[in-house]
Amino acid sequence: MLYHTSIIGGLAAGVLARLFMLRLDYRQYPTYPHDLITHVALGSIAALIGAVFIPALLFKQYTAVTFLALAAEQFRNVRNMERETLTKLEETELVPRGIDYIEGIARTFEARNYLTIFTAVLISGVIFWLDWLSAVAATIIIITASQFLKTGRVVGDIAEVVAARLHFQGPILMVEDIFIMNVGFPPAREKILAEGLAVIIKPKDDNGRAILHNVGQRQAILHTAAALLGTKRDIGEPDFMPLARKNIDTGAIGLFVLPLEKDFECLRNIIERTPVLESASRKPLDAQAGRIASD
């Protein structure tokens, strides 16, 4: 009868781990209410697959194990599902997330299901060979560890955000010495000067510079800033599009937004806490040539 308890224990631990990895925050994603149900359901299936893995092996049900491996393949579709949904929604997004951010979100979803399977396998094993108390302790450890592991690096780790002067050189909008765009309509220029916010994102080292070089990373920052501070951009108002452009000599990023809430400290906080996208992450300093080139 022991394998019954180990399956149930593994299932419970897996579902619990998946619940802790679902977070409701400003992105309103993954957790549109109905998506929450989708993901809890998928997480439960993942947990069940993981929970029966060890008992199936122990009872020499190798066919069952093969089928479980096949079932795990299904979780690849989770990534596709998320990518498709978000890409479709992107069309009506005034300040888009950018394809890199979407890829990052989709990949995270897939990975979290595998983590759920892994948790369930581990806990069902612990129950089988050890006891309930160790299983509870192991669950707590895994969930705590995954809470730490799931938060990756943020822009604040790789760069410094400082306030910058927004000004016009003729019709050209500049953030310090970085060219942003040509604004031809004079009242729009006045509005931008009066209500706009500008910052410079200075990379801390060459790795940071390579990350900020990525256009998808910049779009993710802009999307987050516009989502949290609001934006005056609307259909037929391209002048107020938030933009981030690079100083081609130093690699620093000049960022311009026309927010509904003009608050520099909040903007800095938002930018510093924007995640560094996996697809943008680059480490030239890890290569010998990159290190030599950097000095």
Partner: protein, 63 residues
Amino acid sequence: MKTELTKVVLAVIVQEPQLVSGGAPVFNASSQEEQERIALYLSRILNGMVHDLGNGVFIIVNH
């Protein structure tokens, strides 16, 4: 699928017609205010952005 004409000069607004020729539709304005007004209307109609070329020529471009 939606197709849009982007990165194309959709309209030109000038006070001095001799500055431009050919290509996009050219709108003549008699004063600075009129030029700005036409530019605003056209940018709203075309969903485009007004750009100033610095020589008194405004163009509308959809990005």
